[in-house]
């Protein structure tokens, strides 16, 4: 375990924010989807920050209840309007093309074309984000405003895509701890140009890896970081690693929607009171963050897979402004303009603090449980009692009283209101004095 809990705080927040922004800019233009060239390119770019070993699943391979689909690649897609103007141009914004659109070339009357157009009437300037992974179709997404201005006449449609057998890639990285008890960190990499609901997740995850890696050799738990296409990637990964995770995992977190400067939101794991939950709730409490929501399998990210009833892994999710809460979600408005890179740097710090809460969550047993032990002779307590006692001295009494082998530090933190930082520091001092043994 690190010598001080301070080591879980990133050294240079501004530099970290800048690094994250650089990678955001590199990753932004790529047309990520479940599988395809740009997914792999994105993973290659992330590998500069977090080198991964990759697991591959081939098209047609059965993974749990699912089958790995074809790989999709889009070269070009647009519509020539009757007035000759090129609209819905994929090269302007990859959201214009419905994800996994099948190839198509042809001329259509406006009425026919409209069956392939998707808009968001409530946000007339936004391009919606639409995919059709498992039903063959093609389509374009445009703003309601553009849609309303479409004239009658013949439209020339080009969808230059391919759907072919290929491979689904899972990026996996590990930081080995002193035990084989594991902590899972997961995010997805399958949305095209979306910011909070795409890049914030893998970026925070990768830089979290990089920061935590500095503590390798001092960590008690083994950390497993995975980057996958959402849903099908988690399903595929679970088909290989599910029972192993069920056996080894003590906590896990799905990272998503963590790119802005909003308050933190914590979503419980299905187990509701797992170590993952307790460590995150302690962070939330210390930072006076109050948005805590129960587990919800109906909306969310891959915690839906990790927490499926057969596996029921202890995986929660610390987010900032979450899916469905912000109006830009799943539209072209979810872009760099709503991101905060210092916010993401601080999110890396937040997860490190949560890991700290787990790494340092010792259960002590007092060697002098009968009456309070004498602290003065052990150098644990100033011998002059007056009206001003320090935080640590108060924390010491809580530790001494609850060092009964049944209360871990997270439990004592919750009972006492003292910070994990103080409890860890004081707990170590007491242990050094010989008054505590670890259980």
């Amino acid at each position: 375990m690190p010598a001080s809990t301070l080591e879980f705080i990133p050294k240079d927040r501004i530099q970290l924010a800048q690094d994250i922004e650089n990678y955001f800019d590199k990753l932004w233009p790529l047309n990520r989807s479940l599988m395809g060239t740009d997914y792999r390119r994105s993973l290659d770019i992330l590998n500069e920050v977090m080198p991964t070993n990759n697991l591959e699943f081939r098209t047609g391979e059965k993974v749990l209840d699912w089958t790995v689909p074809n790989e999709w690649n889009a070269r070009d897609a647009y519509i020539i309007a009757p007035n000759g103007k090129k609209i819905a141009n994929f090269k302007d914004n990859n959201l214009h093309l419905v994800g996994y659109s099948i190839p198509f070339r042809g001329k259509l009357a406006l009425a026919e074309l409209k069956e392939h157009l998707y808009t968001l009437p409530s946000q007339p300037d936004a391009i919606p984000y639409i995919t059709s992974y498992y039903k063959e179709r093609w389509g374009f997404c445009i703003s309601q405003r553009e849609y309303d201005g479409l004239e009658e006449g013949e439209y020339d449609v080009v969808v230059d895509t391919s759907l072919e057998p290929g491979k689904l890639v899972v990026g996996e990285a590990r930081i080995k701890g002193q035990t084989n008890r594991e902590i899972l960190v997961s995010s997805y990499l399958c949305h095209p140009s979306l910011a909070n609901n795409e890049l914030s997740g893998p970026l925070v995850l990768s830089f979290l890896y990089k920061e935590l890696k500095k503590l390798e050799g001092q960590l008690q738990y083994t950390y497993r970081f995975v980057v996958i296409p959402e849903t099908i990637g988690a399903v595929a990964y679970l088909s290989k690693r599910g029972f192993e995770l069920k056996d080894k995992l003590v906590a896990g977190y799905q990272i998503t929607c963590i790119g802005d400067a909003g308050e933190f939101t914590y979503k419980h794991s299905r187990q509701h009171d797992s170590l993952a939950d307790r460590a995150a709730l302690q962070f939330m409490s210390e930072k006076k963050q109050s948005q805590v929501i129960p587990f919800n399998p109906a909306i969310g990210s891959d915690e839906r897979q990790w927490c499926s009833p057969g596996f029921n892994l202890p995986v929660g999710s610390l987010m900032r402004t979450m899916y469905t809460v912000y109006p830009e979600y799943h539209t072209s408005l979810d872009n760099k303009s709503i991101m905060s890179f210092t916010g993401m740097a601080d999110a890396v710090g937040a997860y490190l603090e949560i890991f700290r809460n787990i790494e340092c969550n010792i259960t002590y047993l007092s060697t002098e449980p009968y009456g309070e032990p004498q602290l003065g002779p052990r150098g644990l307590f100033s011998s002059v009692s007056d009206k001003n006692r320090e935080e640590d001295e108060l924390a010491m009494w809580w530790l001494l009283n609850y060092a009964d082998g049944k209360h871990d530090l997270l439990a004592i933190a919750k009972l006492s209101g003292h910070s994990m930082d103080s409890l860890v520091r004081v707990g170590r001092r007491i242990k050094e004095s010989g008054l505590f043994v670890e259980v």
Copy 2:
């Protein structure tokens, strides 16, 4: 089980309200008491709606800790004032005569008479409702205003009643379900001309029977409806059926004070978290009704007997404006003018919805608990994902995640906030797809 949960909704609310009103008018004038001609006449009238098999207990019969009393019949009762005016005339309002008054004829001075008069000083225009079942006496109830106007002089009193051995009658009706697990529905029929605190109960009960009877053959549970004189009737019934009920009952409801258009009130069973409670609380939650009170053995109706500690049956009580809350309670002001017949029709519907919650409260086990199952190929989910997902699609995810053989639909409804209607409908669709088995 019915093909749709809609079948638990009465077909014609206005007609139902009219039918209830007709029977209200027929029953109103009768001088019901624990036992006697008018009690039996009332039960005969109800039999037009709900045919009962009757259990009889003879005067003097020992029932649990009690003894069946004499039967009471009142032919006439009045007082001739010194001015020759007939007052406190039983034929004008049967509340004027204290229930179970012994026969008496005689002339009394005002001071002597006053020892037999009961009033309600706080409600000077109301005639109070008073009985004296177990102590022999006679008495009259009059308004405080009339009392205050009584002049000195000789009063001629006639109490033409009889107290003779007879029989206590319990009306019992059953609707047979596919199992012998039972649901009890109970009300009383022993008050004279009182509306909310008398007729609302047996009327809602009888028409509830009539509506539920239409679903006979499709029901999983066996329903037992009982109409009795309050307390002594429940005690007598328990003396015969108590241990059988203890064995078979999964839920029960005492129907009382359900005649107006007020908000619903639910009183917990003594078990506090019984199936009866959970099904009723789900109804309350869906209808945004917030008046939920704990079990209370000190005031109430026959739930006090059903929930006596030896039997401790899972019997709650869904009411509208309940005893002690409305000022007309136990006075002549509790009459038709404060009733709502559409309110009673809706109360029938409310109990049907609660029964629906019990009948449809399945526990499912998923056949694909590892990761989310693929819904598209099973026709369970639209293949285009966009911002607008329907209620049922959200409910589906909750069902799939909690189909672990441990959470029944009522538990999932509470966790998810989804309606039983939606959960039942979607649960069936999933089961048809082969993804669920019933536990």
Copy 3:
């Protein structure tokens, strides 16, 4: 058990308040500390109210993790300022001298002297209360205002004290009950002239003893009263009696800060839901007192020792305005001017009521648990039912329903909102009728 719960109320509140004040005045001037002449004199004075058997521990004796220190006696202590004025005079106020100051005589420059002076800058007129039990030093406490006026020059310091082997004395008194199940009552006697945070505790304890003693022979539980120097005294006592207490104790209370007329505060025992807690919370609820705080081992009195994890005794603390809450705490402002002697008399009554809650906390089992028993023939219930029912009649129904051998009276009081007084009275009447047996 006493024939009526009224016997737990002190007969003459005003006389009791006067008696307490007399003893307050006798005890006030003495320079109490952990051990020494004035500690023993104080205990002797209390013995006029509560005769104790004393346990003695000699200096150097090992008690649990501690060693009994030297006895400290102070004859005189003062400083002669350069202007010849005597300041910080121990004979004016014994708080001027730091407790356990070692002897010293000498002349110091102002700067040197200041290293031995203690003030409270936030309360410039108050003399702080400081001790140094376990580190050898000497010092004086003065007001900030006096400190600020000190002139340069030579100061003549006299600390005429002695630290010599002696004995630590625990005063112990017992009232024998019919069983060896015990209730502990504890307070401390080791602070010099402090009022709320010193004398209120042993005074309320002693007069509580005196009042309770009147009920000797009728009590079910054995009461053990202990007066000790704080911390070291509790540790010493536990070294002798700890395991015996662990075996016998059903409840206990640490009495401190109970001298003013403020609202009551109850601090939970570490067990949180012990009989001590339940009995005190019932008192708090009946008196509409809402200041209830959880167990806290970091601040407080000897509950920290009683509730140390090895013993974990069920000891709570009923206080009035508690330590750290009132600004006069641990200063010369904590004196008679903030005391209320009727407040202390009422505190004696409060503890008696809590003992009543424990003494009378019977668990009944009904002999007629099937349906409600008939009360009329047993003389338990008026045979006329009307709108006005008395408190006791309502309490009766709660008792009858929850007399299941599992709910004690405190549990029924909590469920029903009825007072223990009513439940005890009615419970006895029901038991006399033969309907209840005690479990």
